[in-house]
């Protein structure tokens, strides 16, 4: 199903703006992630698509050419996975998964067959007749997905579906979820505050900030060509370099860097993996702390600018705290972006 | 059907029932109280007529005495039961909460069995020991149904006190008695105020017990009853009911503001 959103905005009764007018187009079978910090409006947008919140007047939500803006949630034929899963504790796993089919008033035999099919696909065979309270977090997450998918919804909406899990499980289920969604081949919208999750699961990511979409694109495009410094910082943790821009050069406390282009009034950012320890480098810095992270070291450096600068360093050995080092940053790794304006 | 329609349907039975049988009757009661020659002045009359005034004072006095006694007994017993686990504890707890479901009439009968003419005390002790029909009998009856209510409130609060508080006091050298006065009672204070207000309100409004003991002690519910049935003084009966209702309602409001819930009135 293709999903078209036009002029979606939300002002809460107190007058606070949760969402500024937003347009969005989602292709059939596409998985879109809404990524942003808490309070950026991503959950509000998802709940408006679901029909759980009413947008401000003038909005239109179109499912495959059908305007569903005025439809109540129970008629929109969506599937939703909630952050807390919202599984019904009074029903078994099977009862939960079959509930949406029961609402469609399908014959009992067909319900049983389709529930069995989804249970199989989500590898829930052993748990089918258990009580919800007897399931682990990861199993509950799969039941929630199976329940949302069983009625064959037009679009699947997922609201932070992995955030209730502990870190180790989250990584494993993230990949599993990405695989399952592709198997289902469904149009899906996935809300998260975790950039790794968004990157791993989504075809396209919409980064949201302060009630608006800051940039939308594939994970690679967002990473390589962020449109704003907010996107650069949120996707890939870019650090602002505080210094004086003069033409195509950036004057820092620890030296001068060449920029990829002439900048005026813009901000320059860099990612830690692009800061290299290089005896021929133009910058001088003093090592503050060194943290060993297995595949690489994370080094905090002082003296380049007023705040610390981080570098990721791989190799068998690393400098020690207190060492004076030289650094280089390739000009193509520097992101020259418009300054953020506070809303 | 939309959500709004459904909520309306959900509230409809309640709205019809409480309007017809609660809001309008109570309004009618308040209006009936001014239907004597005195008009609204009837409330002043209560304070000016010695019989009503002494009834009011007597009712408040008995209720206060019951409140204090029930608080003392139930707090002692409640803390004891929360802090000690022993064989028979559950049996004691069951006995202490048994009267919760007794109507006031049954409680009155219990006091007659203890202190009536054929009562236990009169049989065991030499001389004439009949107190069931005196103000003391009334006091005992009210105490009988107040002990379980106060006990439950106190125990619920005592179970929520962090045991580490008491342990901390002990590591600082506090004696068992100091622990009670410095740690437990301050932590229990809101529950005690709430329980006391409930006990007081229940005693103020208790009718069944006084009715069964059938004494000539004037307590407010009995006076309302005789004004209504014997003297057919509807206005005065209504006015006294309004006063009684306002007092007990205010007490329970206090109770609720100190603790989340209130154990029911009754008696």
């Amino acid at each position: 199903m293709t999903l078209t959103l036009r002029n979606i905005a939300k002002t809460f009764p107190g007058g606070t703006t949760a969402l500024r007018p937003t347009d969005l187009e989602i292709a059939k079978g596409e998985i879109l992630s809404l990524l942003g910090p808490s309070g950026c409006g991503k959950s509000t947008l998802l709940r408006i698509i679901a029909g759980l919140e009413t947008p401000d007047p003038g909005a239109s939500i179109i499912f495959d050419g059908e305007d569903v803006t005025q439809q109540s949630v129970e008629r929109r034929k969506i599937g939703m996975v909630f952050q807390s899963y919202a599984l019904f504790p009074n029903m078994s796993v099977r009862g939960n998964i079959g509930y949406g089919l029961k609402m469609q008033k399908l014959p009992k035999a067909e319900i049983a067959a389709r529930v069995a099919e989804v249970i199989d696909l989500c590898r829930l065979g052993h748990y089918a007749d258990r009580a919800i309270t007897a399931l682990s977090g990861g199993q509950r997450q799969r039941v929630a997905l199976a329940r949302a998918m069983a009625p064959r919804p037009r679009v699947l909406l997922l609201d932070e579906p992995l955030s209730a899990l502990d870190a180790a499980l989250r990584g494993q289920l993230r990949d599993e979820l990405a695989l399952l969604l592709r198997q289902f081949g469904i149009t899906a919208i996935f809300v998260t505050h975790d950039q790794d999750e968004a990157m791993a699961i989504a075809d396209r990511v919409a980064v949201m900030s302060q009630g608006a979409v800051a940039q939308i694109g594939t994970p690679e495009a967002l990473y390589r060509n962020p449109a704003t410094s907010f996107v650069a910082r949120f996707v890939g943790d870019a650090m602002p370099l505080e210094g004086q821009v003069e033409g195509a050069h950036l004057q820092l406390l620890g030296g001068i860097l060449r920029l990829p282009k002439v900048a005026g009034g813009q901000q320059v950012l860099v990612r830690a993996e692009d800061v290299r320890i290089d005896p021929q480098g133009p910058l001088t810095a003093r090592v503050e702390t060194v943290t060993f992270l297995g595949t690489h070291y994370r080094i905090s450096l002082a003296g380049v600018m007023t705040g610390p600068l981080f570098a990721l360093h791989s190799g068998l050995s690393a400098p020690r705290p207190g060492d004076e080092v030289r650094l280089s940053i390739p000009p193509e790794a520097l992101l020259v972006l418009p300054r953020e304006v506070a809303a | 059907m939309t959500q709004r329609h459904f909520i309306f349907l959900c509230l409809l039975p309640l709205a019809i029932f409480t309007l017809a049988f609660l809001a309008i009757p109570l309004g009618r009661l308040i209006l009936a109280s001014r239907e004597s020659e005195a008009g609204w002045g009837i409330y002043l009359q209560i304070l000016q007529t010695p019989r009503y005034l002494s009834t009011l004072v007597q009712t408040v006095a008995v209720s206060l005495a019951v409140t204090v006694a029930a608080l003392a007994i139930s707090t002692t017993a409640g803390l004891f039961l929360v802090r000690n686990r022993f064989a028979g504890r559950n049996a004691l707890l069951s006995i202490l909460t048994l009267p919760l479901a007794f109507p006031g009439v049954v409680v009155g009968f219990m006091i007659i069995l203890l202190g009536g003419r054929q009562g236990l005390v009169n049989q065991l002790l030499p001389g004439h020991w009949v107190f069931a029909y005196s103000i003391f009998g009334l006091f005992l009856g009210y105490l009988y149904f107040s002990i379980p209510r106060v006990l439950l409130t106190v125990m619920a609060a005592a179970e929520k006190i962090d045991p580490a508080l008491e342990e901390a006091a002990r590591t600082l050298g506090a004696s068992p008695w100091r622990i009670v006065t410095d740690v437990l009672l301050p932590a229990l204070a809101p529950a005690l105020i709430a329980a006391g207000a409930i006990a007081f309100a229940t005693a103020m409004g208790a009718f069944g017990t006084a009715f069964t003991l059938a004494t000539d002690i004037d307590v407010l519910p009995m006076v309302i009853y005789t004004e209504f049935t014997l003297s057919a003084n509807i206005a005065m009966a209504s006015a006294l009911s309004v006063v009684l209702g306002v007092v007990t309602w205010a007490m329970l409001l206090i109770a609720r503001s100190f603790s989340g819930s209130a154990v029911a009135a009754g008696g």
Partner: protein
């Protein structure tokens, strides 16, 4: 001395138990002995219980009928209302809850007086058992509502309902499939409380009843005033046999509801 003061709490607890329990035992014994004044030596008998049955069987059945009707009434009125109260917490619902809780705070006598003055002239209603039923529902309704509200407030009802809505369930279906089953512990505790209180209710009932409509507690008051001690005791014994299991079930159900809420 120190040793003695340690035992004061135990002593107070035991004395309180004795105070509550002794008259109960007395009434059980009195109801089963041939002559209470002569004591157990006069022998045990079921004669008094038999007499109670002859005299008061009607009042016992009326009380059971009233309790069941009262339960039905509080379920129909209370459960949907509790759902709305739990679903929309706020000032208006708090005030509504306060209002329907008035019958807990206002003595039964005052409420009965209010009902009598308004409906005393509706003769058919005034003399029917439904008039007493109204009083019982009024008095027990807040217990049902609070019991259900507290259970519903402890679960994430809003999200569960959103889950059901996303699967295509309308408001009424959600109420039946999700709200009621999850409120069950509270409904059960509330139901047992309602039945227990209705069977024991005296203050309202005494004012509202007519000579032909005596409930169990009204019959008790009647027997205390006019029957010999053994009959009154036997009747009280019958009441205990009915109310004590109910009370225990009610306490078990309330404790269970509280456990589930955690």
């Amino acid at each position: 001395m120190r040793h003695l003061s340690r035992h004061i709490p135990l002593l107070v607890t035991l004395l309180a138990c004795a105070f509550l329990l002794i008259p109960i035992i007395q009434s059980i014994l009195a109801g089963l002995t041939v002559n209470y004044f002569r004591g157990l030596s006069s022998g045990l008998t079921l004669k008094w219980i038999g007499q109670v049955w002859e005299l008061y069987a009607d009042s016992i059945f009326l009380s059971i009928k009233l309790a069941l009707a009262c339960l039905a009434g509080t379920l129909i009125i209370g459960v949907p209302a509790a759902y709305v109260l739990a679903r929309n917490p706020g000032r208006a619902t708090r005030m509504l809850e306060e209002f329907i809780s008035l019958p807990l705070a206002i003595p039964g006598l005052a409420l009965a007086l209010a009902l009598l003055q308004l409906f005393g002239s509706f003769h058919g209603f005034r003399t029917s058992w439904t008039f007493i039923l109204v009083g019982h529902i009024l008095y027990t309704l807040p217990f049902m509502v609070r019991s259900v509200v507290s259970v519903l407030a402890a679960i994430d009802l809003k999200t569960l309902e959103e889950g059901a809505a996303s699967l295509g369930a309308g408001p009424a279906r959600r109420f039946i499939d999700v709200v009621v089953p999850n409120a069950m512990p509270g409904i059960l505790a509330g139901a047992l409380t309602v039945v227990t209180l209705s069977i024991g209710e005296f203050n309202l009932t005494w004012m509202l009843h007519t000579p032909h409509l005596k409930t169990l507690p009204v019959g008790l008051a009647d027997s205390y005033a006019s029957m010999r001690l053994e009959v009154a005791s036997a009747y009280t014994l019958v009441f205990f046999v009915m109310i004590v299991p109910l009370l225990m079930a009610m306490q078990w159900a309330s404790a269970r509801a509280q456990r589930i809420m955690k």
